[in-house]
């Protein structure tokens, strides 16, 4: 136990010395690896966010919102609701009042209170919301809905559905996953090479020490541990650097996207936490493995 503690202490002190004696090279390695971690983390987060947008769009894809004129009586609206409910292509019908439309818009990040105050009334129309059974019927139902006399034509768009967005998003996701995966693999290999070279420099600086250690009878792992710990430490530091920037950028970009483009994508805290943990573990593993490869050749003393 005493021997184990002394070995651990020796490895930790030597790893710290390696890192600080070789500070410029170590920091350059950490910074470069940090940028790589940033790219890997950013790609994963981008894929996840686009996926979230796609899911949201897909959930809305089977919906047609028929915006109604303000002057319609509840009876007329109910008649049309009934007509659509009996249509075989329609799976479900619901009605959204003008007040509910405001609440829904606010949930998506739209600030309407000042507009309502200025206009003196609620500018949003009420709507009959249709859920279609088959997405292929969307276009046909949409043209039927548009021609109805109850439709509010003043807002320019009588109904609201966007089926063309989905294939585009799907293509974006496929490309993001492919490019992200290939980029992550290439960057992972580059990280390995960077770590290996950093450790080789550290090994070169300590070559006499390693030679003496081997000659007096230190085991391979006793010699390896300080360098592996140095690699793990560098990897964790790089991952922390990359993850911090990814997390800050995620919040900022999401805020901008929601206020500027009304995307309505919510901040996914648990996913971000998991991503940070994943990056740190990935950085540590990459650092440790890179060091192991870097020192392997020099152990044949």
């Amino acid at each position: 136990m005493r021997g184990l503690l002394a070995s651990v202490r020796f490895a930790l002190v030597a790893a710290g010395q390696n890192f600080t004696r070789n500070l410029a090279v170590s920091m350059a390695g950490v910074f470069t690896m940090g940028l790589i971690m940033l790219l890997v983390g950013g790609t994963i987060l981008l894929t996840h966010t686009v996926d979230a947008i796609l899911n949201q769009q897909e959930a809305q894809a089977d919906e047609i919102h028929i915006y109604l004129q303000d002057s319609l009586s509840m009876r007329t609206i109910a008649d049309y609701e009934q007509r659509f409910a009996h249509d075989a292509r329609v799976n479900g019908v619901s009605f959204t009042t003008k007040d509910q439309a405001v609440i829904l818009a606010q949930q998506r990040g739209l600030q309407l209170q000042s507009a309502i105050n200025t206009l003196g009334s609620n500018p949003l129309p009420a709507s009959i919301d249709l859920h279609v059974r088959n997405l292929n019927d969307l276009t046909q139902l949409n043209s039927v809905a548009k021609s109805l006399p109850i439709v509010d034509t003043s807002s320019g768009s009588a109904t609201d559905y966007s089926p063309h967005v989905i294939p585009v998003l799907k293509t974006v996701i496929t490309w993001t996953v492919w490019v992200g995966t290939i980029l992550s693999i290439v960057l992972g290999v580059i990280s390995l090479v960077i770590i290996m070279n950093t450790i080789r420099t550290a090994v070169y600086i300590r070559r006499t020490e390693i030679e003496i250690m081997k000659l007096v009878g230190a085991g391979d792992w006793f010699v390896r541990w300080p360098f592996i710990l140095e690699g793990v430490f560098g990897g964790v530091l790089a991952a922390a650097f990359g993850a911090t920037i990814v997390a800050l950028a995620y919040r900022f970009v999401l805020d901008q996207a929601n206020t500027q483009a009304f995307l309505g994508v919510s901040f996914d805290g648990p996913f971000l936490t998991a991503l940070v943990v994943l990056l740190v573990v990935f950085g540590a593993a990459l650092g440790g493995f890179g060091s192991f490869l870097g020192i392997r050749r020099f152990l044949h003393v």
Binding site: R2, G3, L4, L5, A6, S7, F10, T208, E209, E211, I212, M213, K214, L215, V216, G217, A218, G219, D220, F222, V301
Partner: protein
Amino acid sequence: MSLAAVMPPEVGQRPDPGQRPVISFHGVSKTYANGTEAIRDVDLAIYQGDFCFVVGASGSGKTTLVRLLIREEAASSGRIFIDGHETTRMSRRRLPKLRRKFGIVFQDYKLLPKLTVAQNVAFALQVTRPGQRHMKEKVEETLWIVGLEDKLTKFPDELSGGEQQRVAIARALVHRPRIFLADEPTGNLDPDTSWGIVQLLLQINHRGTTVLMATHNREIVDLCRRRVIAIDSGRVVRDEAEGGYLREGEATI
């Protein structure tokens, strides 16, 4: 404190005829990847308590012999036994244990410049026996043996060449090895300092440690009259119990 208190018990200089050699070579050859034959068909037996000079010109194979002993190099053919264990077929995993039987010093000392004298000596214990009790006392005792008890806190560059070699000897001695290997330990030293180092090695040998010293310092070998193993072009050409640097009657220009 006397030397006897810290060194292994004395063993007679002359081996018992039935005694097992501590080092033995059986038909050992070493050919490097470039085709150089450094050692050719060497047979040797060295006993506990022997003091051997390994002599020969530069490139004759002395250093390869030392490297084969500690398995820094693997023999191309033949068998080497250390303390009864065959090292030629030993796995890498068992090499650290083998190397702990040896204390090794080189011509260039190989001291760590950022560590003090005491830290340099303690380093050998830290890496082979981490957490060992009474490390400080062991280091001080060993530095007392080599006559550097007053230089504990000095750094290598504050010492003379002879003193640096004494630190290297202390580092090689601190874990009480059975065999002491010295590869040209006086190569960088003036005659007086060299003689001091050899006397120290003789003193270590006197307490029972087997000493093997590779050298081409003719004066020292001639003065000591100990066992001489002469190597020429990788072959053992002479093995005399109390020899000189050259064969009797042999002369050089």
